[in-house]
């Protein structure tokens, strides 16, 4: 049952060697529960469709498509559908930064302003109980490490309602649609940080800044740098910042309205608008197979098919907790179920098997995209899962928990 609904042509494009689930310690019978559960979600119109890929020990045990490619049409979801992956862009940019670190071309303790002088004089907002904002100097500049682990003090506009938040240029994709790179840097140079650098985990534009650091250090656009270093050698054929004409017929679309709030939904690549710069925080499209190749490279300690992208110690370092005891961990503001997670360099990292409100193993790491995509890697179980859906809104949190339960319960060895 592992591979139903994948066309033969899609099979030839499998990202990894295939395995019957039983060959890699997974129960086919138990895995069938996943299809049943997702088909129910589709039937009840909570998601239009989804693609799930599960690999264990380097072999692909599941590549499934359920539901429809476009809720307005009749075409079924296909295994090689293209999705807007939003914040799942971030781990690729973080990986590119670590590749430059490995070459000695930047240090993690470097202030970001060393590469982006516009960001040299950042101020920090202090908001009084009455809501009045005053600005104080940053006690130290934010570093590359701060940007990787989200302790720069940068945020997104919709992460709060304070005066400081109102000064932020929206989210990663809205900023990249509206502003050129120079305008974006100019806007960021004026925003106040919402925390002193290095003190508090807070989600925001940090990875967009890292994308600009990649451009400054390599002299290439972010898309060129990622294509040259990751997408092309890994064979991530559909990865890109723009949705090509050829990809349109495979692009997965969302319901017109949020299933929980009824609000209209806009996914960037469905709008037909183009980016003015390539947002490292959320601008990419990719297939489940593309992302699986990337994850399997990380799971294997930085190498895939004989090509090395990162040293093993670098992957260990990225996937270790970097918040420690001195950084305020606000990761549950993203998802209450991820209590018990810390944050590494580009990914959330599970501190222990228990505590978290979703299934997993100590040391597993994950991130997700605001349009409904999700991944996690479980090094202890040698497991990678990619879930792709065009399902933005708070409903997406449900699929993260559902997928973890359905995949991990299928482990039988």
């Amino acid at each position: 049952m592992a591979t139903s609904s994948s066309s033969p042509s899609a099979e030839s494009a499998w990202p990894l060697p295939a395995a019957r689930p039983e060959e890699v310690g997974l129960s086919s019978e138990r895995l069938a529960r996943m299809r049943t559960a997702l088909e129910l979600e589709v039937a009840e119109q909570r998601i239009p469709g989804a693609v799930v890929a599960v690999a264990r020990r380097g072999r692909l045990a599941v590549l499934e498509a359920v539901g429809k490619l476009d809720p307005a049409g009749s075409a079924p979801m296909q295994a090689d559908a293209v999705f807007s992956i939003a914040s799942m862009t971030k781990l690729m940019v973080s990986t590119a930064i670590m590749m430059l670190y490995e070459e000695g071309r930047l240090l993690l303790t470097d202030p970001a302003a060393k590469y982006l002088p516009e960001l040299a004089e950042m101020k920090v907002a202090v908001t009084s109980p009455g809501g009045a904002m005053t600005l104080v100097a940053a006690e130290r500049p934010f570093t590359i490490q701060d940007l990787l682990r989200h302790t720069s003090g940068l945020t997104y506009r919709d992460r709060g309602t304070s005066e400081a938040h109102k000064l932020y240029p929206g989210s990663s994709t809205t900023a990249a649609v509206r502003l050129t790179k120079a305008e974006f840097l100019g806007a960021l140079a004026k925003v106040p940080l919402v925390y002193q650098p290095g003190t508090t985990w807070e989600y925001g534009f940090s990875t967009d800044v890292l994308g600009l650091v990649v451009e400054a250090v390599t002299g290439k656009s972010l898309g060129e740098a990622l294509r040259e270093r990751l997408w092309a050698p890994l064979g991530m054929r559909d990865a890109g910042f723009a949705l090509s004409d050829a990809q349109q017929s495979r692009y997965a679309r969302a319901f017109p309205n949020d299933v929980l709030t009824g609000q209209p939904i806009a996914i960037h690549h469905a709008t037909g608008k183009s980016f003015k710069f390539e947002s490292g925080g959320g601008g990419m499209v990719a297939t489940a197979a593309d992302y699986m190749r990337f994850l399997e490279m990380l799971r294997r300690g930085g190498e895939l098919d004989g090509q090395r992208y990162l040293g093993r110690k670098t992957v260990d370092y990225m996937t270790a907790d970097h918040l420690g005891s001195h950084v305020v961990n606000r990761i549950t503001t993203m998802d209450a179920a991820c209590v018990g997670y810390g944050f590494g360099l580009g990914v959330a990292v599970r501190m222990q098997t228990g505590v978290a409100g979703l299934h997993g193993s100590k040391g597993d790491y994950y991130w997700s995209g605001a349009y409904g995509t999700y991944f996690w890697v479980d090094p202890a179980e040698e497991l990678c899962t990619v879930f792709m859906a065009a399902a933005p809104g708070q409903i997406r949190l449900r699929y993260r928990q559902l997928l973890r339960a359905l995949v991990l319960q299928a482990i039988t060895d």
């Binding site: 070459e103 993690l108 190498e303 093993r312 110690k313």
Partner: protein, 436 residues
């Protein structure tokens, strides 16, 4: 690259010829190997990735940010990389060689800490001994509480320490003793500036008398702060052993480990191999000072920073520690003693300022003579939980990673703030080369 020792000892005549050809010096340009040599790939290091070390350091050298460096990497007891890059004397364009000598500055401290632990193992001192037991001039320490009057003038109120600083406090830098150069308070003004200035300008009696007059900056055992603690340990080694620090280290560490160049004195016949710093600090343009380049004799052998050695010497010292206290059948320390030294000794009751001066060092605690990494993450540079490290103010650096069975010794005479950059750079370049 033909200049590596590994290539030389591989025995291929054609390569050996290339070695000689590529090093514009005599056949003795390559130092004797401190450890058995291994091809990097056989000990889990990528040759292609190791090549990035030279690429990155050549960029530094080309920009006059570094005169040159010797880098040695051992894994699983085998020397996998040993290379001299750049210049011994940039002004004369004289290449650096692997047998160059370097002023170690604070990399003297781990050797003195090992000496103390050897005496501890013989029952000749206890870690809990108050330092006044061995150095009566330093009995009855007081803590200097700084008071400011209305005009902002500082005065020091001296109060008896709640407990006396111990040998353990000296080893982990919680004695309350600081360096004069680490701050500007009235208490700092009473301390000698640094270890090397103490060794150059004071006899041991004068040094002890000066310390005897200076109140502690903190209550003993409460705050990690860098200072003259290891210089005091050096004097305790002398007192307990009845030998000078140099004699003791030579007899108990340098000779058994065949650290043939380690010394407190740069002998005249070795000056031609001594690596020189760039004349000016690449960041602030100020003239640079390195102890043994000054030609000034030492008035006492300061345990905090007055030794020099070759790269090979320090590799052997570090490998002895990684091996749990022995090398080539010579045991200097018991295995559990090394474990004790390389455990974090800053419990939750001690303010940990190890990461205060460098974001890269956040996430490190401190053992008995080394900073010790608490986790894989948090620190602003790559490494492993349990790795231990220290560095010298003149630009030298070492790290031992027990989990990865790896020793890095980086030798350069590049003082000034840029040294911190070079430490983090070489860290990244070495640890990224691990591929097994």
């Amino acid at each position: 690259m033909p200049r590596t020792l590994g290539a030389l000892l591989a025995g291929a005549a054609v390569l050996a010829a290339a070695v000689v050809a590529s090093v514009p010096a005599k056949a003795d340009a390559v130092a004797k190997s401190p450890l058995p040599v291994a091809d990097p790939e056989t000990v889990g290091l990528s040759k292609e990735r190791l090549a990035r070390i030279e690429e990155a350091l050549q960029r530094e050298i080309a920009q006059d940010r570094l005169p040159g460096a010797v880098v040695a990497i051992a894994r699983r007891g085998k020397l996998a990389y040993f290379k001299a890059i750049g210049y011994r004397d940039k002004s004369k364009k004289e290449p650096l060689r692997t047998d160059a000598l370097f002023s170690l500055a604070s990399m003297t401290k781990p050797m003195v800490s090992v000496a103390i632990m050897m005496l501890y193992e013989e029952g000749r001192l206890m870690l809990s001994d108050p330092i006044g037991k061995h150095l009566p001039l330093l009995a009855d320490r007081q803590v200097g509480v700084i008071k400011k009057d209305a005009a902002g003038k500082e005065t020091i109120e001296r109060v008896p320490a709640k407990r006396q600083p111990t040998i353990q406090d000296l080893l982990r830098h919680t004695s309350g003793i600081t360096y004069g150069g680490r701050g500007t308070t009235a208490v700092h003004k009473l301390y000698p500036r640094s270890s090397s200035t103490s060794g150059m300008t004071m006899t041991r009696e004068e040094f002890l008398a000066a310390l005897g007059k200076a109140p502690l900056l903190y209550e003993p055992g409460t705050v990690w702060d860098y200072g003259l603690s290891t210089d005091v340990l050096g004097l305790i080694v002398e007192k307990v052993s009845g030998k000078t620090l140099g004699e003791f280290l030579k007899e108990r560490i340098w000779i058994p480990l065949a650290m043939s160049e380690a010394s407190f004195v740069l002998a005249p016949e070795k000056k031609a191999r001594y690596a020189l710093a760039l004349p000016k600090d690449p960041i602030n343009g100020k003239p640079q000072f390195v102890l043994h380049a000054s030609g000034k004799p030492l008035k006492f052998e300061c345990g905090g920073g007055c030794a020099l050695s070759s790269t090979a010497d320090y590799v052997r010292f570090a490998q002895m520690l990684l091996n749990g206290g022995s090398l080539d059948g010579k045991r200097l320390l018991g295995r559990r003693t090394v474990t004790l030294m390389t455990s974090d000794h800053l419990g939750p009751e001690i303010v940990n300022n190890v990461g205060r001066t460098s974001v890269a060092m956040q996430g490190y605690g401190f053992g008995l003579g080394f900073a010790v990494r608490r986790g894989d993450g948090v620190a602003g540079m790559i490494g492993s939980a349990g790795d231990y490290t220290w560095a010298g103010a003149y630009g030298t650096y070492f790290t031992i990673d027990p989990k990865e069975q790896l020793v890095l010794v980086f030798m350069a005479q590049a003082p000034g703030a840029i040294r911190q950059y070079h430490r983090e750079l070489v860290r990244a370049l070495v640890w990224q080369s691990i591929v097994d």
